[in-house]
Symmetry: C2
Subunit: 222 residues, 2 copies
């Protein structure tokens, strides 16, 4: 019985790791769609999002079944609850990639981003994708050290995001209000994506240590 239970727990972790890969891929493609004004890639991200939602539902159902049938305690209970939270964050990361793709589609064939800020988004996109792939590793290895590495990558995203605002707020911003609104929202999508990746990693630390390093995907107010 307990053996079967641990097999199921492993399957749940595998599902979460697969979700991390899904949302990393989604954000990679969404960023490509954004930078290259590539409509076909944007459409692919948009239609693939339903798979992320399904994966989340499957994770949650398996977690519920585990709780109801096995009544786990201690670390096993923490693992199942961390999985429920992680699935929620990963679904949200998928939504944020979807928002980026929809922005690319909305402005197509025009590029969304003025050339001046393109580099910032290329960099935020790269780090965001790396964070999602690191989250996959943390889920697989439950390595506390690796989880902490995510925090410094997240700090980089926050730095770029803040810098973006100084660029936007500059009186010399020449690209108009509509572009500023797009850049504001897109910057926030990347920043939140990174926050949620960190949140997934923190939940995994909780599984290992039993102590939660801060609650939830906290974010900057800008």
């Amino acid at each position: 019985m307990r053996e079967a239970y641990h097999v199921e727990l492993e399957q749940l972790a595998d599902k979460l790791a697969a979700m991390s890969v899904q949302v990393a891929d989604a954000m990679e493609r969404a960023t490509q769609a954004l930078l290259d004004a590539d409509l076909a890639v944007a459409e692919q991200v948009i239609s693939d999002d339903a798979k992320v939602d399904d994966a989340r539902a499957a994770c949650e159902e398996q977690a519920y079944a585990l709780l109801a049938l096995q009544a786990p305690v201690a670390t096993d209970l923490r693992t199942v609850l961390a999985a429920i939270h992680a699935a929620e964050s990963l679904e949200r990361m998928g939504d944020l990639a979807l928002h980026v793709a929809k922005a690319a589609r909305r402005r197509h064939p025009e590029p969304v981003l003025p050339e001046q800020v393109r580099g910032y988004f290329a960099e935020m996109g790269q780090i965001a994708v790396r964070l999602a792939r690191q989250a996959e590793q943390v889920i697989k290895t439950k390595d506390v050290g690796a989880a902490k590495e995510l925090e410094s990558d997240d700090d980089q995203v926050d730095d770029i995001h803040r810098h973006l605002f100084t660029v936007l707020m500059d009186r010399e911003w020449p690209h108009g209000v509509a572009a500023a609104v797009d850049v504001t929202l897109l910057g926030r999508f990347y920043e939140r994506f990174a926050d949620h990746a960190v949140s997934v990693a923190r939940r995994m630390i909780f599984v290992v240590t039993g102590r939660m390093p801060g609650y939830g995907p906290g974010d900057d107010e800008i």
Copy 2:
């Protein structure tokens, strides 16, 4: 034993209801601070946010203890899991009120909002606060009908939010890029606050019906 368990479950629901009141009050004050450029009120919201975080931690700990010690099944299990999700959404609502208050503080003594959009925020603020208070009622009564009412209030917030973008995107927007960036982010904070209130209500429907009407606090990409 089962008696003590249901008492604890009631206590958990009471804690969530109290959190709903906390975040409703926070958003009410944050909106006042925003509309009146009232620094003292903004500071109060900012310092009170730690209480919301503490309340969330307390909810989560009680929920974990219930799962570990009582191993609930069926509706009781769903109730505890819904409580964990609701606590997460409520904490997030507190963060969003905090962001509004911080925007008011950042621009003080200047008003954040151009007069032209002030009315939209007054209205979004009112509905957002009402949603949080309705969430409290749904938690207390588990009334599926009341939960559905929240959805139509949320639609109103979405409508105002979308209209705000048409105002911003108008070539005649005369208030400059910095104001547009503030309005963009603030609009999003209200919209997300409303989404999370709906998410709390949906979780309560799940408790009663065992069926989840859509996952998570889904949002518009603008």
